[in-house]
Amino acid sequence: MALDAPQPSFSPVHRRSLWLNLALSVIGLLAIAVMVNYLAQRHYTRLHWTGDARFNLSPPTLRLLESLTNDVQVTMLFDRGEPVFGAVAGLLKEYEHQSPRIRVRHVDYHRDLAGAELLANRFNLTTADSDLVIFEAGGRHKIVRASELSDYNLSELVAGSRQARRTAFKGEALFSSAIAGLAEARTPKACFLIGHGEHDPASDRALEGYRSFASLLAQKNIVLEPLRLVGGAGVPEDCQLLILAGPQNRIDASEVEAIGRYLQQGGRMLTLLSWLRLRNGPSGLERLLAEWGVALGEGYAFDPPNARAGNDLVITNLTSHPSVKSLQGQSLYLFFPRPVEPGPAANRGGDAPKVTPLFGTAETGVVTGVDADGTPRPNPLRDRRGVIPLAVAAEKGSIAGVIADRGSARLVVVGESLFLAEPAIRSDANLDFANLIVNWLLDRPDHLAGIAPRPINEYRFSLTVAQLNQLRWLLLVLFPGSVLGIGLLVWWRRRQ
């Protein structure tokens, strides 16, 4: 054996034990790393470093996701180039991270034609049905289309711009409603009384259309159906909420009787009576409401220190009734509201209805009298002054001998209806009020409370050809070239 041949430092046995030690320590560290990651997967936080927190989920959505008991498969049939794609994908990712019940997958109909075809066949989609999100659970499905996801500022379109500007993203409200709709065993039905010149739920005409209100109900998975009570027809048994929105004509006695029967059976009713629309005339409901402890006042209330433009009224005096408690500190915006307050039949104990004001004017409120033609005639001596109640909530438990299959009857009466029409419903907290009142009437306190659309930040830039050329020189030549020049200088100096 050559004397200069390298001698091993360790005996074969020692070396084997070193390798075994290495293998064991690697396996041990790997096991620790896997365990740490396993724990990290179970207990994690997602921090949002964005100024507008556009991917934060609201508390109602978080509650909904926590309460899910069935798997929900979410399929995004979306082109990646669609402007809202990023917002939709980012938001749905948050849903997926928040609940193990939510599974999201993306099918790009440009790249995955077969996948898109399968979806089209399964959900009867047409060629026009592109860019949508499908929510599936328990054999049922709901579809949210990209066209529904944004609010637009149409004024720029009117002004000659090529496209309307996107102002808000409504993804969370629509996605959460779709999931809630799939999670709910049955869909509540609301009946919208028609035939007396009520507001139109399909229209978006100013101070007439109730489209946003109808959208709110749709978001809450409430099916809205028109209802005519002529000819002795009663309110359908499956109607969970009766809405009477700003009638312009008197309601017939037989119809009032049907409404009375409905309420006696534990019905729920939202009554919005506009002084302006009824032209100070009777609505026909006065007697029925009196029986339910609600008194409709004459004339209309105004409050000059709390008006923005004359006969409108900014209401900040909201009571602590459970339905509107969360709105305290916010304001409502009304027009010509008539007084509505607890009547003589209210709060007399026993079976008497319990009537509570919801909001009223400030101390500076005044109710003025009007002429026969509706012209206000202020009279400083006779006019009522002080806090004027303008809306009440009435509740009545089951009456002995009467089967109240819907539980206790609930009634909300507001002396105004224009405030929930377009575009006033978007003023102040009007939309939130509508949402909360519907929740209270349907006994859904934890239901998704009007998740507000998120404002969209727009990033617009317009570079001229000269500016692009300048940037090209800066970014491709000057910056890298100067670093390379410094490097060459260092290299040259070191050679010297």
Binding site: S25, E458, R460, F461, V490, W491
Partner: protein, 250 residues
Amino acid sequence: MRAFATLLRREFSAYFLSLTGYVIISAVLLLIGLSFLLMLRAFNNDTLNAPLTEGFYSVMFFWLILLLAGPLITMRLFAQEKATGTFETLMTAPVSDRQVVLAKYTAALGFYVVTWLPLLPCLLVVHRYTSSGAPFEWGPTASTGFGILLIGSVFVSLGCLASALTRSQMIAATVSLAFGVGFFLLSFLKYTVTSQSGWFARAAARLSLIEHMEDFARGVVDTRPVVLYLTLTAFFLFLTLKAVEGRRWR
């Protein structure tokens, strides 16, 4: 600690005393500039609903920098010293193996950060030209930088390991690049198992570099990838330490 600081200074300054360091920074700057120009051309006169930086990670050059920078920066760390014979001198100096590995790793990571720093002046230049509506937000920009740092820390530690295993810089860079690209390609595994449920589909989704970067670019910092990258870095550094210690067993 003093020995560590001395080693760190030696390793870090080595990048700036040779032409290689400047070539790397210059190449990264060129690729970042190219990425910005491509995006500006694509979205010029257009309205974006998200900051420009949110789409930065989806440009091919971004991943090219991320995948190439690690191997190029780390290939010389141990391999060059072994090839030139200075490794034994270093290991007989009064410094522990751990100090050597950590100093080399920290210097390489520091240089990796330096290579990405030109991103900030590039952003400011773009901001200067598009001042009518700032094309980026600082929050998502910071989280993007954090993501770049985390992913880079894994690739740099992987590069350290590859360099510690061989005396050829080329082999070190190739091995490191191969593993880096392999890790990157795991991102696409998610799309092949997307229709399946179970732990495999979930694991595939959790290993997706692209998905992690997507979150960081949106300004969302999830603790799960943070823990994943930190543990991977620690694991590769541990293996590097064992590879360095292994020379004594022969």
